[in-house]
């Protein structure tokens, strides 16, 4: 089996993996980083979103072996030095989650949305940008609010 080496949440990791192993399974099963979830298998729901080299991807759609040398950040690596990322804080403060299953992917997507669109982002843009993330609990109202608040906090 091929060896793949990458950086995950700032730590160098290396493992033999079956070539068909998806990044999400590598993270969940090899590294036991179970914050990244599988919700659909067809790249629709976004529960598996992580950052690779600073941009969000659906980790159910990437092969681990294709990410040799990549820098991966998962939800477990978002808080720094024990301090929550402003987007994590915003989700808690605005009740942007209920069952929590879509939440890691939502937060990772949200950070990417703000990185790409800036901190002054309007509701319409947030809603359109969330096309690839499905939540069944919140009706999106408080997620949209949380992302707007998180964006502002990230800008400040």
């Amino acid at each position: 089996m091929p060896v793949v080496s990458m950086t995950v949440n700032g730590k160098a990791v290396s493992a033999d993996v079956d070539p068909r192993t998806l990044l999400v399974h590598y993270l969940r099963e090899n590294l036991r980083l179970t914050g990244t979830h599988v919700g659909c298998d067809t790249s629709q729901c976004g529960a598996c979103v992580v950052m690779v080299n600073g941009a969000s991807i659906k980790s159910c759609t990437a092969l681990a072996v294709g990410l040799q040398g990549a820098d991966v950040t998962t939800i477990e690596g978002l808080a720094k030095d024990g301090k929550l990322h402003p987007m994590q804080e915003a989700f808690r403060e605005n009740h942007g989650l209920q069952c929590g299953f879509c939440t890691p992917g939502m937060i990772m997507s949200a950070v990417d949305i703000v990185n790409r669109n800036g901190s002054k982002i309007d509701e319409k843009t947030i809603r359109e940008e969330l096309e690839g993330n499905i939540c069944r609990c919140t009706g999106y109202h408080n997620i949209v609010k949380a992302i707007a608040a998180g964006a502002e906090a990230m800008g400040g």
Partner: protein, 788 residues
């Protein structure tokens, strides 16, 4: 309200683990030596199994075992059950066909469980599952209910030769017929309530474990009610006696009803763990979830409303065909009967109601409770009828409702329910104001200038929650009591653990239940932990569904807290050298009436355990109490939702412009969480009205079995919601709570469809009102206008 007590919008205690990726869902659990289960599922809607040849699968790499229905039978593992007996109107019991966890000679829907492969890895299991050769004799599928009940239709279960589970009825037919005979106007409507897939974002999963040393099983599973799962797996399916079977439902990623039921996969995993002598894990992929999770709704209804010359409703007749799928799921029989027809009176004073419901087998996935469970179906019937009746009689739909509202309480409807408290006029009045209803006409004209059709739709819903008085539901056929249990354990340092039979899978119980304790005992919510979802920790419980955790689960906690207070007062009396009758408890302090002598809660807790100040013979040491709360009535949340939308007749695209919700949930523990529940319910209701539909083709294949084909509402499909509240206290529980979990999903569909039909100017549209359907309907509108 500030602080952390009842009524405060406290930020959720459980959130930290979810936002940091430290949630603990079933698929996150891995047991040493774990194997993986992969199910061989039927590719046919209806077929006899001639033989199963697992020889190639058994020699496939990594395979430990392949099991079929014969193996379950050999181990005396019973079939899955339906826990609510319904009798037909002729008095005969419902015709329940067998429901084996793995097929016994026949499959009855695509996705039905034929065999299971246990392998070292999931990938090896999948490869081997493809090598299991099943020789099917393909039978004709029966997908459509109308076809299923035709003479000569293929028979799905031998016990039901006409594919009919029951012909049930409720109400007074003669009284209803008499009302129609005298009616000045009759409104008739044919209604389809579309079939949905619940789609909790976390797919179902199970890890079965067996310890041969103690001959005991553990099942980790995605359950809304782990104790009921244990009861059924033990008493009916026969996996193991209850003291040898532990069921753990850890963090659960949404349920919406679909995780109430005791399914084949979970049953097989826990049983197979002993067979292979190693833990067995299964996690549904999304297509498996579509195929084999219990679906929701799927009613076809003809309904008629009788109105007198003054515009008062005098009677309602309803005939519903309910698709129950291929097998009766755990509570399937109750959903279109006792959870449906008793709500047909809506918020209205209707003197005569008669409902008939035919439960029908088809070769489709089992249908059971999905958010609202019967009540959305009832509300859709009532609120569509009311709206159309108002239009037909030329009365403003808001005024028509006001004229017919129940205004005095208690109000006994002709269909079982006794509404205990409410103010329907207050909710409607407030909603109309928040929605700026009086200026709708102006906004319609502005939309028309842009070539758009604007419509407004009202939905005044009622639901029966807090299910339910045990003896009452027992008399209606329920196989279980529907109380809830709680245990309050006060630690010697004054921190508190609450053990509850309720289960949180998104509802925020770790926060709201702690708020109740904080309010009652005057301690910080940080000093309260909520323990749930483990049958080894919590003795017994009925779980979370039907918006019952506040009204029933918290009432049990409240009752146990009463006992804690009584006991603590006795301890305080010894410490303060006073009579316990003179002890007052307020803001976390016990004091002697009329003196400055007092002691705080934590000190009393310590005294209760060190037991130095009293005789252990006079008063038992310790501070721990438990309670079971059995409700005396259902609770009746009610409210009004108003949807206002624009349709582009050129494209058929519907855009919801504004959403107003005014709900009466009685007392509210945490308004932030309650509003979140309302938002989520509306989102699902909009999904039903505009986007979602589970579609089987003629051969019984589910053609909407992934998110590529089944349209889940996305963030840009729904608006922001304007949520308000009115409040009448629920008189039947100590906290005055009615429940809020399902309201949005119940209220929303008729609000959307009433708005669309208002915009279109005709009633000819069904759910889901997709752009294609709306475009067609809009062309009809244009044709009707041209003909005028």
């Amino acid at each position: 309200m500030t602080g952390t007590g009842i009524g405060a919008p406290v930020r959720r205690k459980e959130d930290f683990r979810f936002i940091t990726g430290k949630g603990h869902y079933t698929d996150d659990i891995n047991r040493p030596g774990q194997t993986h289960a992969v199910f061989v599922r039927s590719p046919h809607a209806h077929a006899a199994i001639r033989s199963i040849d697992a020889s190639a699968a058994l020699t496939s790499p990594g395979v430990l075992a392949v099991f079929t229905g014969d193996d379950l039978t050999a181990d005396k593992v019973g079939g899955l059950i339906c826990g609510w007996m319904i009798h037909s109107k002729d008095g005969t019991p419902m015709k329940a066909g067998g429901h084996p966890a793995l097929a016994q000679g026949k499959v009855r829907y695509v996705g039905d469980h034929v065999a299971v492969v246990i392998a070292e890895t999931h990938a090896q299991g999948r490869e081997a599952a493809e090598k299991v050769k099943v020789d099917y004799e393909v039978l004709k599928p029966v997908v459509d209910m109308a076809e299923a009940i035709k003479p000569g239709a293929p028979v799905i279960h031998d016990v039901a030769s006409d594919n009919t589970v029951y012909n049930w009825h409720l109400g007074d037919k003669a009284a209803a017929d008499a009302a129609f005979a005298k009616a000045a106007h009759v409104t008739k409507l044919d209604i389809v309530n579309n079939r949905l897939v619940p789609n909790a974002m976390e797919p179902r999963a199970a890890v079965g474990d067996y310890d041969s040393g103690s001959d005991a099983f553990t099942l980790y599973t995605t359950s809304q009610n782990p104790h009921v799962a244990r009861l059924v797996l033990s008493a009916f399916i026969g996996i193991a006696p209850e003291h040898k079977l532990r069921v753990i439902a850890p963090d659960v990623g949404g349920g919406f009803g679909s995780k109430i039921f005791i399914y084949a996969e979970e049953t097989v995993c826990v049983w197979a763990a002993k067979k292979v002598g190693r833990p067995v894990k299964w996690t549904a992929d999304r297509t498996e979830a579509f195929l084999a999770d219990a679906h929701g709704r799927d009613h076809v209804t003809h309904a008629e409303l009788a109105i007198d010359e003054k515009g008062k409703i005098t009677g309602l007749r309803v005939h519903t065909k309910a698709n129950l799928g291929a097998y009766l799921s755990t509570f399937a029989s109750s959903v279109p009967t006792y959870l449906y027809a008793p709500l047909l009176s809506g918020q209205y004073d209707i003197p005569a109601i008669y409902a008939e419901v035919d439960g029908i087998y088809t070769t489709t996935a089992p249908v059971d409770a999905y958010r609202g469970a019967g009540r959305p179906e009832a509300t859709f019937v009532v609120e569509r009828l009311i709206e159309v009746a108002a239009r037909e009689t030329g009365v403003d739909p808001a005024q028509f409702r006001k004229k017919n509202f129940v205004r005095t309480f208690p109000h006994q409807t002709p269909v079982i329910m006794c509404y205990d408290a409410g103010d329907y006029d207050a909710s409607l009045t407030k909603a109309l104001e928040m929605a700026d209803y009086k200026n709708v006409g102006k906004r319609k004209r502005e939309s028309a200038k842009k070539g758009l059709l604007r419509g407004v739709g009202i939905s005044a819903y009622i639901e029966a929650c807090g299910i339910a008085p045990s003896a009452a539901v027992g008399s209606l056929g329920a196989g279980v009591g529907l109380w809830e249990s709680a245990e309050v354990r006060v630690n010697p340092v004054g921190t508190v653990e609450i053990l509850t039979g309720s289960h949180s899978h998104g509802q925020g119980h770790e926060t709201t239940f702690a708020q109740l304790v904080s309010s009652r005992l005057g301690i910080s919510i940080d000093n309260v932990s909520i323990v749930h979802g483990d049958t080894d920790k919590v003795q017994m419980g009925m779980g979370t569904y039907g918006s019952r955790s506040g009204a029933v689960g918290m009432s049990a906690i409240s009752k146990a807290l009463d006992k804690i207070e009584t006991k603590a007062k006795k301890v305080a009396a010894y410490v303060l050298e006073a009579s316990d009758k003179d002890i007052e408890f307020k803001d976390g302090k016990f004091s002697v009436k009329g003196t400055d002598k007092s002691i705080d809660f934590a000190s009393v807790a310590l005294q209760a355990y060190i037991a130095h100040k009293f005789s252990g013979q006079e008063l038992e040491p310790g501070l721990k109490e438990s309670a079971f709360w059995d409700p005396t009535n259902f609770t009746f949340p009610a409210g009004v939702h108003i949807c206002e939308l624009e349709i582009d007749p050129q494209t058929g695209v519907t855009r919801i412009d504004r959403w107003t919700a005014v709900d009466d949930f009685g007392e509210i523990i945490n308004p932030m969480i309650v509003e979140g529940q309302v938002h989520g319910g509306i989102g699902q209701g909009i999904g039903q009205a505009l986007h979602e539909s589970a579609v089987y083709n003629e051969s019984g294949q589910l053609v909407t079995a992934s998110y590529m084909d089944y349209c889940m509402p996305r963030a840009d499909d729904v608006p922001s919601y304007n949520v308000g509240m009115t409040q009448t206290r629920c008189p039947s529980n100590p906290l005055g709570i009615k429940g809020c979990g399902e309201a949005g999903a119940i209220a929303a569909p008729p609000a959307v469809i009433n708005a669309i039909t208002d915009a279109l100017g005709h009633e000819d549209i069904a759910m889901p009102a997709t752009p294609r359907a709306v475009w067609r309907a809009a062309q009809k509108s244009i044709g009707l206008k041209a003909a005028e």
